[in-house]
Amino acid sequence: MAEARTQFAPQPSVLACRDLSVAYGSRIVFENVSLEICAGQWTAVVGPNGSGKSTLLRTLVGLTVPKSGTIHLQGRRLSSWPRRERARHLAWLAQTAAPTELTAAEVVALGRFAHGGWLAHREAEDDASMHRAMRATGSLAWAQRRLSTLSGGERQRVHLARVLAVEAPVLLLDEPTTHLDPPHQEDVARLLREQAHRFGVSVVSAIHDLSLALTADRLIVLGPSGVVGHGTIREALAGDWLSAAFCTRIDIVEHGGVHLWKPALASPNLGR
C-alpha cells in the first residue's frame, strides 16, 4: 500500500474541532470539545459507556450535526466539502454493521464508491485497492462468501477492509476490534499502527480494551462530563486521566514495555 499512500505527507493537524457541543434533544452528550488530530498518528478514544465516544466519531465524520462548534478537515470547514470528496478523505467504520446478503468482495467494493460514483465501472486500480485492504485484514480468503455466512469477527474484518479500501487520509473507527478474538485484536492494533506510521494516515478509533488503547500514540479520554484529556499515553498516565474518566481507580502496570490494565478484582463497583 506504500505506493498508494506516499502522497499523504504528514501534516500538523488534519482534522480539528473547536468548541464542539452535541446534544440529543435536551440531553447534552458533550460540550465545548476542542481537539486536533495529527497526521500519521493513531489516536485511541476511551471512556465509560455513554460518555460519547461513538457520538464524537459520528460528529467528526459529519453524520451527527453538532449543536455548536466547528470542524475542519485539512484546514477546510467539513460542511463545505462536496459529499464524495469528503468520503474519499474520511472513512468511517460503524460500531455495528447491518446484516447483508452481499459477498465480502461486494462489501469491500462499496468502499470504492467515492472514487467512481454511480456510472463508473470498477477499474483495475479499484481491484488493487480492494486486494490490499482484504489482504491486510486477512479477509481475502472469504472474498466470494456472503457476509451472512461469516462469523461476527470475520464480518468485522471485512468491514475494516471496506474502510481501508477507501484509502482515505483519515480513518474514524468505532470499536474496530468488536467480535475479534485477542490475537486478531492484536492484528488490528498492528494494522492501525502501520497505517499511521508507514502510510501517514490519521487513525482515530474508539476502543473499549484499555490495554489495547494504551498501545496507540495518543489518547482522547472522555468522561461523564466531557473530555478529561487529550495527549500522549505518558501524559494520560501521568495525569491519571483514566481514573478520572471512569470515576474509579484504574491501575495501569508496565510489563515488557507495554502498559496493561490491572483489574481491581477485590472491590467490584458496578454502580460507578
Binding site: R58, V61, L63, R83, R84, R86, A87, R88, L90, A91, W92, A94, A97, A98, T100, E101, L102, T103, A105, E106, V107, A109, L110, G111, F113, A114, W118, L119, R122, A124, E125, D127, A128, M130, H131, R132, M134, R135, L140, A143, Q144, R146, H159
Partner: protein, 350 residues
C-alpha cells in the same frame, strides 16, 4: 499476468462476476422461454374451446385475427409488462426500506387507486359533468391519478424523504386513511361495489395494445435508472449511516427510488387493478434461487414478475373457462402458499 489483474484474480471477483453473469443469463433465458410459451398458450385460452383456438391459429379469418392479435395477444403482453413493473417496484421497495416484506403498495398506491376509481364512478353516477370526466379519464386514468396522489400524500405526511422509517409509517397511515374513505364512499353508493370488484381483485381484461405499449414504455423508463442506482441499494444494506459515509446522498437516492416505485406501481395499478403478492414474491423467488446483488436482482425480478402475472392470468382464464377468475385472487393464492412454504422451510432449517 499484471499485478492488478492478479489482484482481481485473488479476490475471486472475476470468477464471481463470471459465475453471477452466467447464472443471470440462464435465468434470463429461462424466463424468456417461459414467457414465449405462456404467450403462445394465452393465444389458445379464451371463451372458445382450445380446439377452436387452434383452428383459428392455423386457419385465421378476419374475426379470429381480431380475437387473437387484438384481444388475447395484447392482454398476454400487457400482463407480462404489468407483472414486470410490480416485480421491479417490489425489488426497489424491499431495498429502499431494507425490509424483505416490503411490497410496491407500501406507499399507499393501491388504496389511492381504489379511492380514485370509487370517486370517479360516483361522479359519473351523480352528474353529466362527472360522466364526461369518467369518459375522459376512464377507470385506468382514475386509478393512476389516485395512486400518484396517494404517493404525494405519503411523502407530504413524512415531511419529505429524509427518514425511511417516517416514509414507511406515512405509507401505512395513507393506506388506512384512503381505504377508510373508500369504504365510507361505498357505503353511501353500494350499487357501484360490483363495478369496483373487478378493479379491486385485479383484471387484465382491459388491456389493449395502447395499454401494453404504455406499460412497456414505463418499464423501460423505470428499469434503466433503477439498475443505475443499484449500488446505492447495495450500500443501503450496510445501514443508512454507512451508506452516507460512503458518499451517497440519501435524500436524492430515496427520492429517485420512490419515484421509480410510484411510477411503476401506479401505471400497473391503473392498467390491471390491484394485483397482490407479485411485487412481494418476485424478488424473493430470485433471491432464493440465485444469489444476487441489487444490479442482478433489478434485472431478474421484473422478468420473474412478468412470468408470474402472465401465468396467473392464464390460470385465471383457464380454470373455470369460459368464465374468468379475478387474476388478483390467483396471485394471492399462489403468493400466500409460497410465503407459507418459505416460513415452513425456514422453521425446518432453524
Amino acid at each position: 499476468m499484471s499485478a492488478l489483474h492478479h489482484a482481481a484474480a485473488d479476490l475471486g471477483t472475476e470468477s464471481l462476476e463470471c459465475g453471477a453473469s452466467r447464472r443471470l443469463a440462464i435465468w434470463l433465458a429461462c424466463c424468456l422461454g417461459v414467457t414465449v410459451l405462456l404467450t403462445a398458450l394465452s393465444l389458445l385460452v379464451g371463451t372458445t374451446s382450445l380446439e377452436d383456438s387452434l383452428q383459428w391459429l392455423i386457419y385465421p379469418d378476419a374475426h379470429s385475427s381480431v380475437v387473437l392479435w387484438q384481444i388475447r395477444l395484447p392482454r398476454a403482453v400487457g400482463a407480462w409488462f404489468a407483472g414486470a413493473l410490480l416485480g421491479l417496484a417490489g425489488a426497489v421497495a424491499q431495498g429502499l426500506f431494507r425490509n424483505p416484506l416490503a411490497d410496491p403498495y407500501l406507499l399507499g398506491t393501491a388504496s389511492g387507486a381504489a379511492l380514485g376509481v370509487t370517486a370517479c364512478l360516483m361522479a359519473a353516477d351523480a352528474s353529466i359533468g362527472g360522466l364526461a370526466l369518467m369518459g375522459q379519464l376512464g377507470v385506468t386514468g382514475a386509478a393512476c391519478v389516485g395512486a400518484c396522489a396517494a404517493t404525494l400524500l405519503t411523502v407530504t405526511l413524512s415531511r419529505g424523504v429524509l427518514q425511511t422509517a417516517s416514509l414507511l409509517l406515512s405509507g401505512i397511515v395513507t393506506a388506512f386513511l384512503l381505504s377508510a374513505v373508500t369504504s365510507l364512499l361505498l357505503l353511501t353508493k353500494p350499487e357501484i361495489w360490483r363495478e369496483m370488484q373487478t378493479f379491486l381483485l385485479g383484471s387484465t381484461s382491459f388491456i389493449s395494445w395502447s395499454s401494453a405499449t404504455l406499460l412497456g414504455t414505463v418499464l423501460c423508463i423505470c428499469i434503466v435508472p433503477a439498475v443505475l442506482l443499484s449500488r446505492g441499494l447495495d450500500a443501503l444494506t450496510l445501514g443508512e449511516d454507512t451508506a452516507q459515509s460512503l458518499g451517497l446522498s440519501l435524500p436524492w437516492l430515496r427520492l429517485a427510488l420512490l419515484g421509480i416505485v410510484a411510477l411503476s406501481t401506479s401505471t400497473s395499478v391503473g392498467q390491471v387493478g390491484i394485483v397482490g403478492f407479485v411485487g412481494l414474491i418476485a424478488p424473493h423467488l430470485v433471491r432464493e434461487t440465485i444469489s444476487v446483488n441489487h444490479r442482478q436482482l433489478l434485472i431478474a425480478a421484473p422478468l420473474v414478475g412478468g412470468v408470474l402475472l402472465q401465468a396467473a392470468d392464464l390460470v385465471s382464464r383457464f380454470i373455470i373457462r369460459p368464465a374468468e377468475l379475478p387474476v388478483g385472487a390467483v396471485t394471492a393464492c399462489v403468493g400466500g402458499a409460497y410465503l407459507v412454504f418459505l416460513l415452513w422451510r425456514r422453521s425446518r432449517d432453524g
